[in-house]
């Protein structure tokens, strides 16, 4: 059984946010109108977290693309009163939209603020609804939604592999964010397969997990930016 995880290399990330838009497009996440955006109600399953430090001219900014971290020990699923969210055998934290009562206890329990609530009925003005993906349900108002690691893509990849009578190979299943990343900063795969690229990156000394001390055991790793050494890497 795979344990799906992700490694996001902050050194390679150019902060373009293609992942954010790809996720929105793939998962039928509605765009909210300006006044809603101003009150912080933008729905996005992966977003860019800027952390600016210092004063001019000594500044540093860490820009962290942050999806749901799919913790192995997720605080959110513990608190849901109706079991509308849970963690499946492959470690993906899911949300059952038709069961969710919208109490937002999980959003409150998530230390990463990576759960989104449908404040309104989703709106797709004009023909924008034509761009909706039939593989992903459009959430009704009043329920919590979150990153699914594009679970529908896993199902599709499984079916395709099955049809071709071969096991699921690395790279067959990629979430939209990992697929679109132009700088190759997002690596996705099976953390339990020691040979997979993601497992190797997770073991990299640069790898860290956000708020690791909370014991949530995220399956999304970030790789800290490395310093330029002045040399030519391992060639010299």
């Amino acid at each position: 059984m795979a344990r799906w995880g992700m490694a996001i290399d902050l050194a390679k990330c150019s902060a373009c946010q293609a992942c954010v838009v790809a996720c929105q497009s793939e998962n039928n996440i509605p765009c909210v109108p300006p006044e809603e955006a101003r009150s912080g109600r933008i729905l996005s399953w992966i977003s860019l977290l800027p952390e600016l430090e210092g004063e001019y001219p000594r500044l540093s900014m860490r820009l962290v693309p942050l999806p749901c971290l799919h913790c192995d020990n997720p605080p959110c699923i513990l608190v849901c009163p109706v079991k509308a969210t849970g963690i499946n055998a492959e470690g993906t934290v899911h949300q059952i939209y038709p069961r969710c009562i919208g109490c937002r206890y999980c959003t409150t329990g998530c230390p990463y603020t990576r759960r989104m609530f449908n404040w309104y009925k989703p709106e797709f003005p004009g023909d924008l609804a034509l761009a909706l993906n039939p593989d992903v349900s459009v959430r009704p108002k009043g329920v919590v939604e979150k990153c699914t690691l594009c679970h529908h893509r896993l199902m599709q990849a499984r079916e395709e592999a099955k049809a071709a009578k071969r096991p699921l190979a690395e790279g067959d299943y990629l979430p939209a964010c990992a697929e679109v990343c132009p700088s190759g900063a997002i690596t996705f795969g099976d953390l339990d397969d020691p040979a997979s690229a993601v497992a190797q990156l997770a073991r990299n000394p640069r790898a860290f997990r956000l708020l690791e001390d909370l014991g949530t055991k995220p399956k999304v790793f970030h790789l800290a930016e490395g310093e330029w050494s002045g040399g030519r890497g391992n060639q010299t």
Partner: protein, 447 residues
């Protein structure tokens, strides 16, 4: 049916059923005004149902606001009645006799509004029954559902049991014509056996209700404390919330008593001594509240965890400083001197202190819920939360509806326990003399 004894109210206490016998016009005006607020709240709720929770001021990351504050607040108020009444009963505090009913009614009624606040807060209230269909017993919210329903059940029974003899009086007064009273009186004839059983039942319930009440508010606090959020994840939240609950409950009770006294001319029943006693209790709770608050914040401060400190400072000096310090003033600075000083511990004084405490405790709930939510551990945009008219209307409507229902209760049932007062008059006096004597040296204990 052998001997039909007609239960009657003694002439001395006739004033107690006056509100039931004849309502004044002002009752209807007030009821209409309150109903208007209820209607407004209903309209606001329809709007919220129609459009979604977006009509509230909630946002990312402030996912919880006034509704949850109200929930905690109302559940806190509910500790007024049953818990206090049970403790007083168990202690044989004789001055309880005229106040237990008023207290117990608060509990039962206000619990509905506590639960109602949660319903208001749900994105999908239509699916609320999912908590029964797919219960997750690991969720503190489900513990809440359980403990609150048990509490509601227990306090309803606890309200009902001492009501039976009074209902029987009302039944017999109307000659048993009203099926309503006949049904509710459950065949009470006031026989010795019945009285003995009732006494035992009340005693058992009083014992039962205390741990339930304590558990309820502990569980409410756990809704917060069981998360890892800074400012919530605290071991003393259970007792802290219970103390706060009793604190606000007593305050609510004092206000209710003062109103009843004033409106129904029950000065003889609700005497300054009642207020004095309750005032002292309130003062003790105020001190306890201060102690817990101090302990909680001092621990946070010394812990020095940055995420906790962010929340800490947002309350002490930051965006929520006004709410925080108002809370501190109204929960401690204002009521404590009033209550501590004998000369101000009058009816008016205790009422002023109580109103102050009610405001303060609501603010306390708010400053527990909102600042933590608006300062998430990761530096997302920190949320700014200000409730919209929908939330305010629903909050006001809840308050109004609660008062309305309370008034209605007084229209149908005596708000002061007639039989207990009678009993006090007839039996307790010698009993107390006997009991007090038993405390003295050289006498055999009573039992």
């Amino acid at each position: 049916m052998d001997v039909e004894t007609k239960l009657e109210i003694s002439r001395d206490d006739a004033v107690l059923i006056q509100p039931i016998v004849a309502a004044r016009g002002s009752f209807y005006y007030l009821a209409a005004a309150l109903l208007a607020f209820s209607a407004l709240a209903f309209f606001a709720w329809v709007e919220q149902l129609r459009r979604g929770l977006g009509v509230t001021g909630l946002n990312v990351p402030v996912y919880w606001g006034v509704y949850i504050t109200n929930f905690v607040f109302f559940i806190g108020i509910s500790h007024a009645g049953t818990l206090i009444s049970a403790i007083l009963r168990l202690c044989h505090a004789e001055w309880r006799r005229s106040i237990t009913r008023a207290a117990e009614v608060i509990t039962v009624l206000v619990l509905f509004f506590g639960v109602g606040s949660i319903i208001m807060d749900l994105g999908r209230p239509d699916r609320a029954l999912n908590v029964l269909r797919h219960p997750n017993f690991r969720s503190p919210l489900l513990w809440d559902v359980c403990s609150i329903s048990v509490y509601l059940m227990a306090s309803t029974i606890y309200l009902y049991l001492p009501l039976i003899p009074d209902i029987a009086i009302l039944r017999d007064r109307t000659g048993g014509a009203s099926w309503f009273y006949r049904f509710l009186a459950a065949g009470w004839r006031g026989t010795e056996k019945q009285k003995r059983r009732l006494d035992r039942a009340i005693a058992v319930m009083a014992v039962l209700v205390i741990p339930i009440a304590v558990s309820v508010h502990t569980v409410v606090s756990w809704v917060f404390a069981m998360t890892v959020q800074p400012g919530w994840h605290s071991a003393i939240f259970g007792p802290y919330f219970v103390v706060g609950a009793i604190f606000s409950g007593i305050a609510a009770l004092i206000i209710a008593m003062a109103l009843i006294r004033r409106i129904y001319f029950l000065h003889d029943y609700l005497k300054p001594v009642h207020f004095n006693h309750l005032g002292l209790l309130l003062m003790v709770m105020s001190l306890l509240w201060f102690y817990f608050t101090f302990a909680e914040y001092l621990t946070t401060f010394y812990g020095g965890d940055p995420s906790h400190l962010t929340v800490f400072y947002s309350k002490l000096t930051g965006r929520y400083a006004l709410a925080f310090w108002t809370m501190f003033a109204t929960c401690f600075v204002i009521p404590f001197p009033i209550l501590a000083w004998r000369r101000t511990r009058t009816v008016a004084g205790t009422v002023v202190a109580s109103i102050s405490v009610i405001i303060g405790m609501w603010l306390e709930r708010l400053t527990i819920v909102v600042p933590t939510m608006s300062q998430p551990r990761l530096p997302w945009a920190t949320g700014l939360y200000s409730p919209t008219w929908i939330e305010i209307a629903i909050t006001l409507g809840f308050g109004a509806t609660f008062i309305l229902l309370y008034m209605l209760f007084t229209r149908f049932f005596p708000i002061i326990s007639i039989w207990e007062v009678q009993e006090g008059r007839e039996h307790s006096l010698p009993e107390v003399i006997e009991r007090v004597r038993s405390y003295m040296p050289g006498t055999e204990p009573v039992q």
